[in-house]
């Protein structure tokens, strides 16, 4: 049942993700790109370089570039520091995977500790009586 729900959710969100990739909006790209001088996202910045980057994004959207193409063009000029979030591929994937792995390991450790504490408490109860 869970698999069916997950599959349905994936199918429901896939078209919007695809549309966002093929026809990105100015607003979403400005929220995903960082001004290299002030280190805030473009939508929060009025620094001269940020204004120039916004113009570049608008020109590329008008020219029909995809979101990935626009981001790649900016990374080629300014480096990966212009991306507000690390890429979901290669070494940068670690930035996404490590927190999840940390949560999983933390959850396992916590479960083990709770299990041990409750078992010890149960063993000690008869002694109290």
């Amino acid at each position: 049942m869970r698999l069916v729900v997950a599959a349905l959710l994936a199918l429901a969100f896939a078209p919007s993700a695809l549309a966002s990739e093929r026809h990105p909006t100015q607003a979403e790209l400005e929220g995903e790109l960082v001004c290299p001088t002030c280190h805030t996202t473009l939508d929060q910045s009025n620094a001269p370089v940020a204004i120039r980057m916004k113009q570049f994004v608008a020109q590329r959207i008008a020219a029909g570039d995809t979101k990935s193409e626009i981001k790649e063009a900016l990374v080629a000029q300014f480096g990966k520091g212009v991306l507000a979030a690390p890429e979901r591929r290669g070494f940068d994937l670690l930035a996404w995977a490590l927190p999840l792995a940390g949560l999983f390991v933390g959850g396992v450790v916590l479960t083990l500790l709770l299990w041990r504490w409750t078992r010890r408490a149960e063993e000690e109860l008869p002694l109290l009586e």
Partner: protein, 175 residues
């Protein structure tokens, strides 16, 4: 259970130490400014703005240098560019080398800028601003004058509004 417990504790301590080491390394690197007046100018090797050549500072060792960091979106850089070109034409016969470093900028914009102001000295391109921290830049434009011994004799954190000041700085590097 005991060996497992000890292994887990050792692992946790190792992880904390590794994270502390990483933090200390990052902090020490982040504050590393190599370009100071009286100190040798740090080396750099960057692609030229136009063509496939590179601009390597080591190639010019033994000669005085003026290194100017700029970008097209920086208004004062536009104001300063004609004075720099005039100074380059005036002083190049005395052995000084001018190097422009276009930083945090679009290459297309920068090439148009070079054409517009007819800049003829070598221009390096540093879009990702690799030199920013090493040279201790705080804004643009900034200019460094380096003497024949490779030591920085002046660091200007503003445009040269006056050509008299610019010429005086160049004379200092030539002395």
């Amino acid at each position: 259970m005991k060996p497992l417990k000890i292994a887990l504790q050792l692992g946790a301590v190792a992880l904390v130490l590794a994270l502390l080491g990483l933090f200390a390394w990052k902090v020490s690197r982040g504050s590393e400014v190599d370009a100071r007046v009286g100190e040798p100018a740090p080396a750099f090797d960057l692609p030229a703005l136009s063509g496939s050549q590179r601009v390597n500072i080591d190639r010019y060792r033994g000669r005085p240098m003026l290194i100017n960091f700029w970008a097209t979106w920086c208004g004062p850089c536009r104001d300063e560019a004609p004075a720099l070109e005039r100074a380059w034409r005036r002083y190049r016969s005395q052995g000084i080398v001018f190097i422009g470093v276009d930083i945090r900028d679009f290459t297309g914009d920068a090439r148009r800028f070079v054409d517009r102001y007819s800049l003829t000295y070598p221009i390096a391109y540093d879009g990702p601003a690799k030199l920013w921290a090493q040279w201790g830049l705080t804004g643009l434009p900034e200019t460094f004058l380096v003497d024949r011994d490779g030591r920085i004799v002046e660091h200007r954190i503003a445009p040269y509004d006056s050509e008299i000041d610019l010429h005086a700085a160049i004379e200092k590097a030539l002395a």
